[in-house]
Every structure is written in structure tokens, then in C-alpha cells.
């Protein structure tokens, strides 16, 4: 692990990705101690103040400190999307390994179903499911996890087909080993690096998806400080009070860029080329 981190950090892009991701994770964990104000406290005498010595990033339309809200703004998004990324990677990864190993008609039919899901306008489906099930994490995590898991499945299944054609898998089958030991002992160890990179990639995409949901009113609800929601609430004031939109955008973008750079660096460190490995 240390070697992996050292390899990642040895490249500028990897070091930047690792730094940005760690920075945001630390910020999310320590937000209550870092933020100078309660992010939900409203102040009628401090509405839309530009950045100043007291409010470093200014205040919003309800007089709340933008810096405190930005610092807190990633907590829910990171928690929800990380959980959803784990769900997506686990089910998509397992299903991909399984279908890539067994092949045949089961694999063919399953992939057509997966292709059908991939062709659907996922955001509309997300909105539909969240409209029915509510906007809480208990709905959003499994929904995001399912939809993004389909993409993981497609990528991992492709890689699994290559692995399953190798001699050591053929030898295991010739030895009469059951399917489960083949999946867990022969296939999984050889695909874990792809799963790691895929998981990281999907996490960054999910962050964008969750923020989009919050922007549309289907993710975080007021008064929760959340980057997507902050942009939605202040978007009408871009020309007169841009700080309410600018800073949450900077925070969200920097985290997504950081995770992408980190995923790239991890892939390269593990000898994967994302350009060819990521089929979807």
C-alpha cells in the first residue's frame, strides 16, 4: 500500500489528485471544528455580504456564512455517494466477474439487459424513483448504486472474460473446482485493481449526479448545507452576488477533479490503462 501511495505521489497529477481528495475528506470530517459559524444560522442583518474579514466567502440570501456552508457542504454528498459507490462496485463487480466467467447464453442475455439499462436516460429514472421513494439517503444510495453498478458490471465483465481464458483458470476448471472457488480465488484477485479504479471513477460521477439531484430539489433538502443545493438557491444572483454559487462550484469541481486524477494515478500504478479498460 505504501508503495502504491508512493508511486501515485511521484507524479504531479497523482499527487494533486491524492492531495485534493484527502483535503476534502479531512475537511468533511473536521467541518464542525473548522467552520467559524453554524452553517444554518440565518442573519437578517448580514444578507448577501461580499467576502470580507468576518465572512471569508461572503454570505448568502439568508445571511448565512458561505465559507461555513461550503466546508459542511460536502459531508452529505461524500457520505451518500461513497456508500453508493461501494454498493455499485460490489454488485456490479460481482455480477461482472460471474457473467464473464460463466459466459454462454446466461451471459449473452444478461448483457443485453445491461445494455438496455445503459441506454436509458438514467437521470429521469433517478428522478422517478426518488419521487416515489422520497429524497432520503435510503432511496438515493441503492438507486445510484444500482444504476452505476450496471456500468461497473459491463467493464468488469469484459476484463473477466480475458482472465477466464487464461491457463490458470482453465487449469482450475480442469481440476474440477466449483464455480465459487474459481470466482473468489482465481478471478477476484486478478480483477481487484480494476474494481478499485472503477469504484473511484463511479464515485466521482456519482458526486456530480448527487449534486445535480440536489440542484433539482431531489437530493439534499434545506437547511442542509450542500453544494448542489447552494448553487440552486443562489443561481439567480450570479451577476450581483456570485460568491454564493462560485465557492460551492469550486469545492465540487476540485473534489471531482481530485478523485479523477487519483483514479487515473491508481490505474497507472497498477498497470491499467483506463482508456482501454473503461469500456463504458
Amino acid at each position: 500500500m505504501r508503495k502504491l501511495i508512493a508511486t501515485i505521489a511521484s507524479k504531479p497529477s497523482g499527487a494533486l489528485g491524492l492531495g485534493l481528495t484527502l483535503f476534502h475528506l479531512v475537511l468533511a470530517v473536521l467541518a464542525p471544528w473548522i467552520a467559524p459559524f453554524d452553517p444554518t444560522v440565518q442573519n437578517a442583518d448580514a444578507i448577501l455580504l461580499p467576502p470580507n474579514a468576518t465572512h471569508w466567502m461572503g454570505t448568502d440570501t439568508l445571511g448565512r456564512d458561505v465559507f461555513s456552508r461550503v466546508v459542511h457542504g460536502g459531508r452529505l454528498a461524500i457520505a451518500v455517494t461513497f456508500s453508493a459507490a461501494v454498493v455499485a462496485t460490489l454488485w456490479g463487480g460481482f455480477a461482472g466477474i460471474f457473467f464473464g466467467t460463466v459466459g454462454g447464453r446466461v451471459d449473452e442475455y444478461s448483457m443485453r439487459i445491461a445494455d438496455a439499462f445503459l441506454s436509458m436516460p438514467w437521470l429521469l429514472f433517478l428522478l422517478l424513483i426518488i419521487s416515489i421513494g422520497g429524497a432520503g439517503p435510503l432511496t438515493i444510495i441503492p438507486t445510484l448504486g444500482f444504476f452505476y453498478g450496471v456500468a461497473v458490471l459491463r467493464v468488469v465483465r469484459g476484463a473477466a472474460m480475458q482472465i477466464s481464458a487464461r491457463d490458470f483458470v482453465t487449469a482450475a476448471k480442469a481440476r474440477g473446482e466449483a464455480l465459487w472457488p474459481i470466482l473468489t480465488r482465481e478471478m477476484f484477485p486478478n480483477l481487484s485493481d480494476i474494481l478499485l479504479v472503477e469504484g473511484a471513477m463511479r464515485w466521482s460521477w456519482m458526486l456530480l449526479a448527487f449534486s445535480s439531484l440536489s440542484f433539482l430539489g431531489f437530493g439534499a433538502t434545506p437547511p442542509t448545507p450542500d453544494w448542489g443545493l447552494m448553487v440552486a438557491q443562489e443561481r439567480g444572483l450570479l451577476s450581483t452576488a456570485p460568491w454564493g454559487v462560485f465557492w460551492p462550484c469550486v469545492a465540487l469541481s476540485s473534489l471531482i477533479i481530485g478523485i479523477n486524477l487519483l483514479a487515473d494515478a491508481v490505474g497507472k500504478a497498477l498497470g491499467l490503462d483506463r482508456a482501454t479498460a473503461a469500456a463504458v
Binding site: 440565518q42 444578507i47 440570501t61 434545506p222
Partner: protein, 498 residues
């Protein structure tokens, strides 16, 4: 000879180009595309009916009754019979003559049980309408009403053509055939509804040739459309949106004191709001002045105490409704919520500041142990899908006279009784107030009704708004008057007035 001809043609062309302007107004798509051209339909297309139809009496610039299709009116001493003299020579858009028969038809259909119009509660005082002659009608009331002409100023009490509507008092009439300054060309509530000037309009000839009503559900999108020059006015912008236009020579900003309010509604028949102590506790937890400042900015509001009668109304009752967190906690405790109360509030960007108001109340009510979870709802279709469907939700009303709004929103069983307020005593007092001929006694009765709403009602009306309207500087002829007093025929664009 050639020169004068050319000159005349040039002037005619210039004149034609100048008057061929199109006025573009946004509409909020509040009924999700099922907007109706019948003015008394619960889903009336507000912006369209304002320009296509006319009333007997309309608001003057000062908000007082002013002649429209009725030139004069008088009452018997007991104010039970009102005679209206009608404007002669008026025609509908299809060429039919406007007569007293049309007035009788238009007024009596408001009583229809089948249509179940929101106007039924207010106009239910009409017993019958007698056609005296083609230019005179006598409205006979069930009881005296000293302010009856005020009721006929209701923006939905429009005069329809009885013949076009088939004379059926129980059927919706969505023909769009009115006597107003614009006639309907194409109805497309989801897109752009188009109208053209009615050349035979009895009043001032409309200052623009065409009128477009463009569906834009989102408030920020309406503001952006105005900035981009896609529409010509926005009826109301929020305090923080004012700097987008103030000082910009391309726009005119108008501040209009009004009886408009954006509020929250508790259904008094559904738990936990069926307990008046819970309702009062929620109201007492609010700091109205701070809320007004946060949502509408300094000078953008006037504090009110959960009754709909605004400061400009002669029957307004001033009540002390300061914040009392301890009192709210005590009431909640009595109601069985000593450990706090958790409720859901459905909100949407339906009216200026609705979502922010909910967020501010959420923050303030926390101090009294009331946890409000905000449930966002889409703005388009809100009035059909959420309003009066949930137990706690946002609302927005335009200015109405005291008698009208108290009857329209709080009389038992009326269509827009959004709080499901059901009190026989309240109804009886409403009847007494509207039939009382002595002004002082009438004012006292209306005041008692307002106090009752503060004590036990289901409305949360923390402020009345000073509307900030923004229009393109190309538009003229629109003084800073309340929305119902706008005379669309007087609006001109780029000096297109004729």
C-alpha cells in the same frame, strides 16, 4: 402629386411598424398546462382572462370601484337590491352585442354547484338577477351588502356571452369570447398563448397589436428571460433580484404596496393541525419582522398576523402577534407534544419567497421544539397536485377586499377554503358583517373575524408584500398599481401607442 402619396405611404408604413409591437408577458404555469379560459374555473388562466374579458366594475388606480362594463350603480336603502346601468354599444369579440342578459347569465353561473367555482362563496349572496332592459340589470341579494360593488371587482367575475356559452349555467365556458381589449388567437398554456388587439374594444384602443403569454414556471427563469429581452415584464421579483435591474436604463423597477401575500397553510382537519393549540404554537414561534427582512428585505413587507386583510383595507384589524417561544412550547405541551413536534412542509418556487419563507420558519420554529422537514415540490402543476392536497403547504394570494377574501378562503365548504376551516359561528359572523349597514359595526365584526383567525385559524400569513415589479424600459403606460388595477390596453411598447 406623387410626393404626397409617397409621404402618406411612408407615414402609413411607419405607423404600421410602430403599432405592430408584441407585448410578451410570462405566466407561471401553475396548473401545469390545464389552465382554463373560463374565468370562474378553479383552474382559470389568470393572465389570459385579465386581457380577454371585462368586468362590470373594476379597480381604479387607487383600488376603488371604477366603471367598466357598468357605467353607474345604485342601491336601495337596505342595500339588498343593486341596479347597474350598462355601457351601450359594447360587442363581444365574435360581434355579438353585450346586453343585460349576458350580465344575468355571468353572475348566476357563479352559483353553479357543478362548476363549484372559487367565486361561489363570495357571490353566493346573490339571490337572482332581473333584466330591467337591455342596458339595465337589477341584482337582488339574499341579504343586505353595503359593499357589493367591491365583490363585482373580483378578477374572475367577468362578463361572458350567454349565446356563445349556450346559456348553460352549469357548464364551463372556455370559448375565450369576451369584450376585453385583446382577443384570443391561439391558446397554448404550455407554450405561448397569442392574442391580438380587439379593434372594437369600448375603451382605449390597445397600445400594442399583439400579446403573447409565455409559460415560464420558474421564478429565476422568468427573471433571466426578462434580462435577455425574451419577455417584457415580471410581475414580482424578490428583494435580492432587484439589484439585477436597479440603475439599469433598460428596465423600470416599480415598488407597489399591496395586499398580496405568500404564506403557509395548515389543514385544520388533519392531525396534528386539527388541534388549534398546535396551529397557534407554530404561529407564535415565528419572528415575523425578522422573517420579513430575511425573505423580502427591508421595506419589502408589512407585518401581518395570520389574517388576509391588508393594511390598505378599511377593515384591517391590527393585532399584536410578537414572537413567544415559551408560549408556543407551553401550547405544544398542552397538546401532547411536550417532547417536540415533527412535521412535513410541502414547498415550491410558486411565488416570490415561498421556499425561503419555509426555510426561515423552519429555523425559527426549532427554538419551540418544532422540527419542520421541507419537502420540495415542482412549481409546474403545484396548484393541482400539492395545494390543498397536503396537510401543510405553501400558498400565495393576490390582494382582495376583506369581505371577498374572508368569504372566499374561510367560509365553510367553499372551493378555495385551503385551511379546511369549518366553523358555523365564523360563517354566521361573516353573514352578519356583510349585511351590517353601519360602517363602524361592520368594521368591528370584520375585526373580530380577523382576531379569530389569529387565535385559531390555519393560515400562517406573516407579512403582506410590497410588490417589486420590473418591466422593460420599452414599455410605458403602466403606473405602479396593484396587479388587478393594471389596464393592459394602456400599455405601449417602443412608443407603439396609437
Amino acid at each position: 402629386m406623387k410626393k404626397p402619396l409617397l409621404l402618406t405611404a411612408a407615414i402609413a408604413m411607419a405607423s404600421s411598424a410602430a403599432t405592430a409591437e408584441t407585448l410578451r408577458i410570462p405566466h407561471e404555469l401553475g396548473f401545469g398546462g390545464s389552465e382554463s379560459m373560463d374565468p370562474i374555473s378553479p383552474q382559470r388562466f389568470y393572465e389570459a382572462i385579465q386581457t380577454v374579458y371585462s368586468r362590470l366594475v373594476r379597480q381604479g388606480e387607487d383600488g376603488r370601484p371604477s366603471p367598466d362594463l357598468a357605467l353607474s350603480w345604485e342601491a336601495t336603502p337596505d342595500a339588498k337590491e343593486w341596479t347597474f346601468k350598462l355601457r351601450p354599444g359594447v360587442t363581444f369579440h365574435n360581434g355579438n352585442a353585450f346586453t343585460a342578459e349576458d350580465v344575468a347569465f355571468s353572475l348566476m353561473r357563479t352559483q353553479s354547484e357543478t362548476i363549484d367555482s372559487p367565486t361561489k362563496g363570495v357571490m353566493g349572496i346573490i339571490d337572482h338577477v332581473d333584466v330591467v332592459d337591455p342596458q339595465t340589470v337589477k341584482v337582488v341579494l339574499k341579504d343586505s351588502h353595503a359593499d357589493f360593488p367591491l365583490l363585482t371587482m373580483d378578477y374572475r367575475i367577468k362578463m361572458l356571452d350567454a349565446e356563445t356559452c349556450g346559456g348553460d349555467l352549469d357548464a364551463l365556458c372556455e370559448s375565450g369570447n369576451g369584450t376585453g381589449p385583446f382577443e384570443l388567437v391561439d391558446l397554448d398554456a404550455l407554450g405561448t398563448t397569442t392574442m391580438k388587439r380587439f379593434e372594437n374594444y369600448y375603451g382605449n384602443r390597445a397600445g400594442v397589436e399583439n400579446l403573447e403569454l409565455i409559460a415560464i414556471a420558474d421564478q429565476d427563469a422568468r427573471v433571466a428571460a426578462l434580462q435577455a429581452g425574451q419577455i417584457d415584464l415580471v410581475y414580482s421579483v424578490s428583494a435580492e433580484q432587484v439589484p439585477l435591474f436597479a440603475g439599469n436604463p433598460g428596465f423600470t423597477v416599480q415598488s407597489v404596496p399591496s395586499g398580496r401575500w405568500v404564506g403557509l397553510v395548515m389543514n385544520t382537519q388533519e392531525a396534528p393541525f386539527s388541534d388549534p393549540r398546535v396551529r397557534k404554537a407554530i404561529r407564535m414561534s415565528a419572528d415575523r419582522d425578522a422573517l420579513g427582512k430575511l425573505v423580502y428585505g427591508k421595506g419589502g413587507y408589512i407585518v401581518s398576523c395570520d389574517h388576509p386583510v391588508w393594511t390598505g383595507d378599511q377593515y384591517r384589524k391590527e393585532i399584536d402577534c410578537g414572537r413567544d417561544v415559551d408560549g408556543a412550547k407551553a401550547l405544544l405541551s398542552e397538546a401532547g407534544f411536550a417532547d417536540g413536534l415533527e412535521i412535513e412542509l410541502f414547498v415550491s418556487d410558486i411565488s416570490e419567497g415561498a421556499v425561503k419563507m419555509a426555510e426561515v420558519l423552519q429555523n425559527q420554529a426549532k427554538d419551540a421544539g418544532i422540527e419542520i422537514e421541507l419537502v420540495p415540490a415542482p412549481a409546474d402543476g403545484y396548484w393541482g397536485d400539492v395545494w390543498m392536497k397536503e396537510a401543510f403547504f405553501a400558498t400565495g394570494w393576490s390582494q382582495r377586499p376583506a369581505d371577498q377574501i374572508l368569504n372566499e378562503a374561510y367560509r365553510s365548504g367553499v372551493a378555495w377554503n385551503e385551511t379546511a376551516w369549518n366553523s358555523a359561528d365564523f360563517d354566521a359572523k361573516l353573514d352578519s358583517a356583510r349585511s351590517e349597514l353601519d360602517f363602524g359595526k361592520r368594521k368591528k365584526l370584520y375585526g373580530e373575524l380577523q382576531e379569530e383567525l389569529w387565535e385559531t385559524g390555519g393560515s400562517f400569513i406573516p407579512v403582506h408584500l410590497n410588490i417589486t415589479r420590473v418591466l422593460s424600459s420599452k414599455i410605458s403606460g403602466l403606473p405602479p398599481v396593484e396587479g388587478f388595477s393594471i389596464r393592459y390596453e394602456d400599455l405601449t411598447k417602443n412608443g407603439s401607442g396609437s
